[in-house]
């Protein structure tokens, strides 16, 4: 039975939750507000919160100087491409680990996770050389490959935990009815794990979208995604806060909108199962 919660308690909790939520959101809000200021207002001290000369100058300048859509398209291709390729590899891998574990499955899982513990800069030069020799530098395909490999451990881990929640008996029943392995994964397992797969997909799109080490270091002019677009608006000598904020707002807007519309899926996926 649920505990009785007084109305007063409820409203205090709500207030605290809103306050924490606002605190977390504040930097993003500040970025958005700054993007509508002039450069002089952006550095004014004390800063003005709402009462400044609202204008779109920073957006105009960013639009004029950069090819936003090229970077946006690169981001879409890289994040979606790497997530889809990753899922295609991870679904069978997670299936085998969840339903037919071998003696060393646990070690394999741990080993995969351990690859995430290496600082990426440690392998920058070898990967750069491989990319140079295979002609993959500054190509979208190259980045899709790297992002797939980087996020694969997370995708497999997430799917593995979702799959483990699904009773093996259902799959056995499908097998009794004559389903092949392929049918079993595509027609039985996948539909049941849709919330889990969807949240894995969303989370990985977001991770790839925001990844700013490899996407900056392996690209130049052609395949550079939105992270490079943002990095081009910081300046060591000169004022840049309004333009940088405008560029950041434009870069995070698509993913913010995607996150907003898919938040139900995300929350459902992340809390999927009885023990989470």
């Amino acid at each position: 039975m649920a505990r009785a919660v007084t109305n007063q308690r409820k409203s205090i909790n709500t207030l605290i939750a809103w306050a924490i939520g606002f605190l977390i959101f504040f930097p993003i809000l500040w970025t958005i507000l700054t993007s509508f200021k002039t450069e002089a207002e952006a550095i004014a001290s004390p800063p003005s919160f709402l009462f400044f000369h609202w204008n779109l100058d920073a957006y105009h300048e960013v639009q004029e100087r950069s090819n936003y859509f090229l970077h946006f398209w690169n981001s879409v291709v890289i994040s979606l491409g790497s997530t889809l390729v990753g899922l295609a590899i991870a679904i069978p891998a997670a299936w085998s680990m969840a339903f037919v574990p071998a003696k060393r499955t646990k070690d394999v899982l741990m080993w995969m996770l351990s690859t995430k513990m290496l600082p990426p800069v440690g392998v920058l030069i070898p990967i750069y050389l491989i990319f140079r020799d295979t002609g993959l530098l500054d190509t979208r395909i190259g980045l899709v490959i790297v992002m797939t490999l980087i996020n694969l451990p997370i995708i497999i881990w997430m799917l593995f935990t979702y799959f483990r929640e699904i009773p093996g008996e259902i799959l056995e029943a499908a097998r009794m009815d004559g389903a092949t392995l392929r049918d079993e994964i595509i027609h039985v397992l996948t539909p049941m794990a849709v919330p889990g797969i969807a949240s894995t997909l969303l989370l990985n799109v977001i991770l790839s979208w925001n990844e700013a080490f490899w996407t900056l270091n392996l690209t130049a002019a052609k395949a550079a995604p939105l992270t490079a677009f943002i990095a081009s608006y910081s300046s060591p000598e000169g004022l840049f806060y309004a333009k940088l904020s405008a560029a950041s707002t434009m870069a995070i807007a698509p993913i913010l909108i995607l996150g907003w519309f898919s938040q139900k899926q995300l929350v459902r996926g992340l809390t999927f199962g009885a023990v989470k």
Binding site: I125, Y128, S235
Partner: protein, 439 residues
């Protein structure tokens, strides 16, 4: 038309298009997002109009990301860029590695002899130029004439550190949020260490003795750091340990600093009436000296355009580099945006131009500061290295930043000056030993 014929025509069209594309050379230019470079990108239409066979692709990045990016590319011979924007720190190191294409056979009207001698020598190895300076800077004192008058102090054109300290004290009015002096405190080899190294040079200190032994235990370093810390603690703005160029620029522009000692390029920012509330009352002086020493810190930097040896379009790259750093480019900027906006600190002719002198109140002091810089002799003491506000060895980025963190911590009050100096001494010696010095 049959499908096959259509396909054939289509293939012909594609072939024709790709032949046209092949006649065009594309060069990729890596640069930083400083105002002068942004202007260059804007004006590059004029270049492509004059050279329709050359297409330009721009990669603009934040300074530290750019440095990491181009260093990785050039060290691995990645060949992603045809023109790189680098500084006086990288040029000699990279040129000695044969990573850069020498800038020989430049067009006659380029007038190499017009380049400021100090900049030209900083970008040359054994008399050969390896990069073309786009804009250059030294360091100088920028101060508020109105505040100085009000406080009853005068700052001479060639001040001593004692003058600066006295003026900082007189101008400070913390109740009204006016701080006598603003200096860099943010850790980094190109941030606080640029300033502190220049200051230490002027105090007669050096980073290394002739056996490459660190010198932070010397009395000169102690005196320089003590004065830096006491000035900043007593007359500096709060939270100075996180202030870099831009933070101090905004403090100065909003009228919160009496003096600011930093790169000469700031002269055009602080006198810009659109962004600076104190534009009318700024005056300039040379980088201070200590006692009888005649060392003005030797700060010298030039953002320069270099061509990596790996480029597959050396001629097109050279055409662009000599265009962007030519006298004609300066005139183009003046025509479009006025003389004040001309890229400073590279050519003697600019400083002889009466239009520029009239439009840029900081011109005279900028030239004086740049001419006073002798990066070949950073300190009055003998040094095994060259460089002004940095030490021109590859290891300096790492060591400089680590030492900068110690000094920034001292400014924040986390450690004492003596602790910071002794940590700097031991970490520098350790890293230098690891790197195999003396070589």
């Amino acid at each position: 038309m049959t499908l096959r014929a259509q396909a054939l025509w289509g293939a012909c069209a594609i072939a024709a298009l790709s032949t046209a594309a092949a006649a065009e050379t594309t060069i990729t230019i890596a640069t930083v997002n400083n105002g002068d470079m942004v202007r260059m990108q804007g004006l590059s239409d004029e270049f492509t109009k004059a050279h329709p066979d050359i297409k330009l692709e721009w990669v603009t990045l934040e300074e530290n990301i750019l440095r990491q990016r181009v260093t990785t590319d050039i060290a691995t011979k990645g060949g992603q860029y045809d023109v790189m924007t680098i500084g006086t720190y990288e040029v000699p190191i990279w040129a000695k590695q044969n990573w850069l294409a020498p800038l020989t056979d430049v067009p006659a009207d380029y007038d190499v002899d017009d380049l400021l001698p100090s900049i030209r020598s900083a970008l040359s190895v054994d008399g050969t130029l390896y990069a073309a300076p786009f804009y250059g800077e030294s360091a100088m004192v920028m101060y508020r004439k109105d505040l100085a008058d009000k406080a009853g102090v005068t700052i001479p054109d060639q001040p001593k550190w004692d003058d600066i300290m006295a003026a900082a004290k007189a101008m400070t009015d913390k109740g009204n949020e006016i701080y006598g002096i603003c200096l860099r405190g943010k850790p980094g080899w190109g941030e606080n260490m640029a300033f502190i190294t220049a200051m230490a040079n002027s105090y007669g200190a050096r980073w290394f003795d002739m056996d490459w032994k660190a010198q932070f235990d010397s009395p000169e370093w102690k005196a320089a750091l003590d004065d830096y810390l006491s000035m900043m603690n007593e007359y500096g703005p709060p939270g100075a340990s996180s202030n870099g160029f831009n933070e101090n620029l905004s403090l100065f522009q909003t009228g919160k600093c009496g003096m600011w000692i930093d790169a000469t390029v700031a002269g055009s920012f602080v006198t810009d009436p659109d962004n600076s509330t104190v534009a009318d009352s700024v005056a300039f002086a040379q980088f201070p000296t200590k006692g009888d020493l005649e060392n003005h810190g030797n700060w010298l930097w030039a953002w320069s355009l270099a061509i990596p040896a790996t480029t597959d379009a050396p001629d097109a790259a050279k055409t662009f580099v000599t265009w962007a750093t030519s006298k004609a480019y300066t005139e183009l900027v003046a025509e479009k945006d006025g003389w004040r906006a001309a890229p400073p600190g590279t050519r003697t002719s600019l400083y002889e131009n009466p239009d520029y002198q009239a439009a840029a109140p900081f011109a005279e002091m900028t030239l004086k500061s740049m001419n006073a810089a002798t990066p070949d002799h950073p300190s009055v003491q003998e040094t095994p290295y060259t460089g002004g506000q940095f030490v021109a060895i590859p290891e300096f980025q790492g060591i400089g930043t680590a030492v900068g963190q110690q000094f920034s911590a001292a400014l924040a009050g986390q450690v004492t000056a003596d602790q910071a100096l002794s940590s700097a001494q031991s970490l520098t010696d350790r890293e230098m030993k690891r790197a195999g010095y003396p070589k």
